[in-house]
Amino acid sequence: MSRVRLGRWLLVIPMGLLAFATIYPLLFTANVAMKTRREYILDRFSLTDSLRFENITTAWTSVGMGRYAVNSVVVVACSVFLLLLFGSMAGFALSQLRFRGSNALFIGCLAALFIPFQVIMVPLARVMADSGLVDTYPGLILAYVAQFLPFTVFLMTSYYKTIPAEIVDAARIDGNTVYGVYRRIMLPLGAPALLSVGILNTLFCWNDVLISLLLMPSADHRTLMVGVTSLRGQYSEDIPTFASGVLIAAIPVLAVYLFLQRQIADGVAAGSTKG
């Protein structure tokens, strides 16, 4: 027994070092963002001598991260709303209402899960260009909805399958239409799944760079992540401003992670065990 104990305590060292290696990069970046350029060049490791937010303000205003953040928030909010709406509608129909072709549709959705974006990005860009949707909010929102809908429908269908059919039947006998059942029963009952699928979709859309780089090319319409990529060329000399831009893009995700860690991990786990 004591040997097992000792073995366990020996593991603490590498695991602790790894934990440090997991958080240190972001702490380093946050520290650099507080420094002046001079301070950074003289010693990049030392703790900043004061909490300076000038770099953050510069990144927010003159670098344009503020405008990019607004673009991101608008696009992500609309995309996630539509994903949850369409996903729960389809999930309800596919799990509770047996109709001709419902099985084939579900399998089709599963298959779509395995088409990576890279495989369809060239023709999708052409379709979007032909419909005049390139460099518009609706275009990017539609692309996100299409990208993450298979996953959303799949998880919502699996979740709604666990709701007993008697509930739907009883509500129908009480005189509800199918739409009434969806609105009054399925949406409230689906809240936990909608929350965790919503958080995951928010992260996916917020973190995406390839789709927005492809469909929102102009500087005015950049999302925050594309904004981060543009920092590299412009601020390669001014590392503290660069670090500030990165920090601005990371903070919302960090906040979401700190408060909703459980739901995120559970969502990932649910996706894996149901797969």
């Binding site: 593991l11 603490v12 996903g87 209402l97 089709g108 369809i120 060239v122 995700v253």
Partner: protein, 282 residues
């Protein structure tokens, strides 16, 4: 009677128009020409061009490298999950800290590691303190791809860890206790109890990790190396982006997309087969 169809209509419409139709269109594209020959059928010309292009050959070589590194990328979270499951002191803390980089965008991760891995950056300073280096992590063609893959593993192992832990939750703990009563060592427990009971989870992690390596490293490549130095960090997805966005050769890019799709199918099926065989021998 119509209601179910109304409910699924938006989802079906979007998926057909923006996923299924582009998929078919893309395969068709790959057999047409670029530039002057736009729209004309050119047979397999794009595929011939593709296989002759040194950049695409490099991208395929790098895919081979990813396949070789895959067991490592799966073993790391697997081992860590085992330790956490066996309740190493502080397991709750590790669990939440390790998962944290998984929520960051590859772009943010890439930008941060641009700072850390720069020639005069912190990583080289730390190694220098031990008399190692300096290494030109992102500027040396022999090193850059390993650096990028290493950062990708850093950023994603927490995701696989959570999946492993979900698998462990289904594990029969009586089996573990029995092994321990019989005096089995940790290696024996991992080899004879944990791996055979978690075959499904391990398969799942293998496939998703490979898919992740093939389809979600774009952000890192774009920010950290832009495919360089000397084209040594190309992957098919980056090649597709360059041909489509920068070189204006959408038909060639479509051919590369089709090849990527085939690679993913082959890799997925091959792994399932290998793992199934390994599972049977146990």
């Amino acid at each position: 009677m119509l209601a179910p169809f109304v409910l699924v209509a938006p989802a079906v419409l979007i998926l057909v128009l923006l996923r299924l139709y582009p998929l078919l269109l893309g395969v068709n594209f790959s057999f047409t020409g670029d530039g002057d020959r736009d729209g004309a059928m050119v047979g397999f010309d794009n595929y011939v061009d593709l296989l002759r292009d040194p950049l695409f050959q490099g991208a395929l070589r790098n895919v081979g490298l990813l396949v070789l590194l895959l067991p490592v990328a799966v073993a790391i979270p697997g081992l860590l999950a085992t330790f956490i499951y066996l309740r190493v002191p502080g397991h709750r803390f590790y669990r939440s800290v390790y998962f944290f980089p998984a929520v960051l965008s590859p772009v943010i991760v890439g930008a941060i590691f641009n700072l850390l891995l720069s020639f005069d950056g912190p990583v080289n300073s730390i190694l220098g303190a031990f008399g190692i280096g300096p290494v030109d992590w992102l500027g040396d063609p022999d090193v850059a791809m390993f650096a990028v893959v290493g950062v990708h593993v850093w950023a994603t192992f927490g995701m696989a860890l959570v999946v492993f832990l979900a698998g462990f939750a289904t594990l029969d703990s009586a089996l573990l206790d029995a092994a321990r009563v019989d005096g089995a060592s940790l290696t024996q427990v991992i080899w004879h109890v944990i791996i055979p009971s978690l075959t499904r989870t391990i398969q799942f992690v293998f496939v998703t990790t490979m898919i992740g390596m093939l389809t979600s490293m774009f952000g890192l490549l774009y920010v950290m190396t832009s495919g360089g130095p000397e084209g040594s960090t190309y992957l098919p997805e980056y090649y597709i982006w360059i041909q489509q966005g920068q070189m204006n050769r959408p038909a060639l890019a479509s051919a590369a997309s089709t090849v990527l799709f085939v690679i993913m199918l082959v890799v997925g099926l091959l792994q399932l087969k290998l793992l199934r065989r390994a599972g049977r021998e146990d």
